[in-house]
């Protein structure tokens, strides 16, 4: 494999090394300061945007008051108190309970329905071909890109009091249900789709060759492998649904039997003054519920995943 006799030794005159001949310190001083400063900026930004506000909600919701003594360089001496009873009252009074319960079961139902249909749609997207499939994929992504208020407008006019198809879901839980299905579908589908794509079908072929029918194969072979992804999609859909505001703000009407938690918090906020802590309290409750559910679906998903890879 001898190549052409090019003029190698001469041509290998080394071009000069890069300009800055800093010969000390692999980690140059400027680099270190830069990374350090950048990280500090990052942490500052995140604290400003996320960490401090979350702390503020927790503080107001739980009635945490902190008394500081002095701002000097010497240590702050502070004492804190929590008003748990106020928190509890704000969260368990009749209207609050109603709102939280409504959001909770609606979100669970919506996540469940879309979990099932998400799998169906993913199957069709991954394994079927027909004219217009691209269009279908695009439509599924619409709620993802569409602002929630636009979804809200659309739903309230289509299924509201002046409904052109004569379906009036104004101020009903059904209206909320439809709106939530609308906004959470992409999550359910997209959680399952890539996992399904990665299956090569060999296990299913093996199952069929052993005589199992389509449904049997699906239930015993395909579904279990998809379970972690389905659980993840369920968690995502639930988290989205329980916090959803824009799309349901219009069809849920005002105060009434069909006020979900997010609207309830907003109403409390609008009332202002002493209701701020009530709003914060319900927010905390909602956060805890979301956290619990996300954690449990996460754990369940990992556990199933682990069992699958053994």
């Amino acid at each position: 494999m001898a190549g052409p006799a090019s003029d190698i030794p001469q041509a290998l005159k080394a071009p000069p090394a890069p300009r800055s001949r800093r010969r000390f310190g692999v980690r140059t001083l400027g680099g270190v300061l830069g990374v350090f400063g950048g990280s500090a900026l990052l942490m500052g930004y995140l604290s400003l945007i996320v960490l401090i506000p979350i702390a503020a909600v927790a503080a107001h919701g739980l009635g945490i008051t902190v008394h500081t003594h002095g701002w000097g360089l010497a240590f702050w001496h502070w004492t804190g108190t929590t008003d748990f009873s106020a928190f509890w009252a704000n969260v368990t009074n009749a209207t609050a309970r109603q709102a939280i319960w409504l959001s909770l079961w609606l979100s669970l139902a919506v996540a469940a329905v879309n979990a099932v249909l998400g799998v169906v749609i993913a199957l069709v997207l991954v394994r079927d071909t027909f004219p217009g499939k691209r269009l279908l994929e695009g439509v599924i992504d619409l709620p993802f890109a569409l602002p929630t208020i636009v979804a809200g407008v659309v739903i309230v006019y289509l299924y509201g009091q002046a409904s052109p198809v004569h379906i009036n879901l104004y101020e009903t839980w059904m209206g909320l249900f439809v709106a939530l299905l609308f906004v959470t579908l992409p999550f359910s589908v997209r959680a399952v789709q890539p996992v399904l794509e990665s299956f090569d079908g060999q296990a299913e072929d093996a199952s069929r060759s052993l005589g199992a029918g389509g449904i049997r194969t699906f239930m015993s072979i395909l579904l279990p492998s998809l379970l972690p992804a389905i659980l993840t999609g369920f968690g995502l859909a639930f988290a989205r649904a329980i916090g959803e505001f824009g799309s349901i703000s219009l069809i849920s009407g005002g105060l009434g039997r069909t006020t979900p938690a997010s609207a309830y918090i907003f109403n409390l906020f609008s009332d202002g003054g002493s209701y701020y802590s009530a709003a914060a309290a319900v927010s905390v409750a909602l956060l805890v519920i979301s956290l619990l559910l996300l954690a449990s679906t996460g754990v369940a998903s990992t556990r199933v995943q682990r069992r699958l890879s053994q």
Partner: protein
């Protein structure tokens, strides 16, 4: 069925036929559900808005209130998207490449805006920075008002659109590893040159995808901005707020609400189309990397 096992190569056509017959009910179900749930309302939106007449539509869009709202939305996007892109890239590189104490916390912090209701996000910002908040009095003294102000809207929008760039690029950063940067380093490239000539180009589709998502979220954010803006017309209305306001009026400004909704929908759909093209490109690139 057994025939396809005995002679798999010889039966491709037959397989497809059997598949179609079996797939049909599922296909119909999927199409029906998606059409009814999503397709119908969106089609209705466009139909109704243009049914009012293109003239009315245009009149509504160019109404000063609407234009102001559009302008404000654009201004906010012009600030928020670049900031969150830079933050996403910086934090993304950290999360994907370095180990350090508190890494988990950093990761979780970026999960918060997605997992939490926008109402709660708006409320949290209000409780932290408005007059009654912890920093409120100090900020107020220095002339910063969170409520009824554009800075407040910017802040709220930053909070809700924070994670999209990061979540989009981190998996790709992890997948491609650091060897390309190491190679560039041995060839003499410094940190910034490596970032701009090697790292960012290598993740460009995922990066653009994340930016597109950030933009969509920024333009469309409603709940958090509603709380923070105080909803004073002509001053602090973004386009979504404008739409809500149109609906909230008595009598309901149907035309305004619809036109605004359509405009916002068109913008978002454009972003969506860009998104799908990007996703297709990214998928193709993934195959190459494998």
């Amino acid at each position: 069925m057994t025939a396809s096992v005995i002679a798999p190569v010889a039966e491709p056509v037959r397989n497809r036929e059997t598949n179609t017959r079996r797939r049909l009910p599922l296909r119909l179900l999927a199409i029906a559900y998606v059409s009814l749930l999503i397709g119908l309302p969106v089609a209705f939106l466009f139909g109704k808005a243009f049914g009012l007449g293109v003239g009315t539509f245009w009149h509504q869009i160019t109404e000063p209130g609407a234009l102001d709202a559009l302008e404000l939305s654009a201004k906010v996007a012009a600030i928020v998207v670049p900031v969150n892109t830079v933050v996403g890239i910086g934090a993304g590189l950290l999360l994907a490449r370095r180990r350090f104490p508190g890494k988990r916390l950093l990761d979780l912090t970026f999960d918060v805006p997605i997992a939490i209701s926008p109402i709660i996000i708006g409320l949290s910002l209000f409780l932290a920075y408005s007059k009654i908040g912890a920093f409120g009095p100090w900020l107020f003294k220095h002339g910063f008002m969170l409520v009824f102000s554009v800075p407040g809207i910017v802040l709220a929008t930053m909070a809700v659109s924070l994670p999209y760039v990061l979540r989009s690029i981190v998996p790709v950063l992890i997948e491609i590893g650091e060897t390309q940067e190491q190679a560039a380093r041995t060839l003499g490239a410094g940190m910034w040159r490596r970032l701009f000539t090697i790292t960012l180009p290598a993740i460009r589709w995922a990066l653009l995808y994340g930016i597109a998502l950030t933009l969509a979220r920024t333009l469309g954010e409603f709940g958090a901005v509603l709380i923070v803006s105080g909803n004073v017309t002509d001053k602090t209305q973004t386009l979504p707020i404008y739409i809500y306001d149109a609906w909230d009026q008595v009598p309901t400004n149907d035309a305004g609400a619809f036109s605004g909704a359509v405009l916002l929908a068109l913008i978002s759909i454009t972003v969506l189309v860009v998104l799908s093209i990007l996703r297709a490109r990214e998928r193709r690139l993934r195959v190459d990397i494998a």
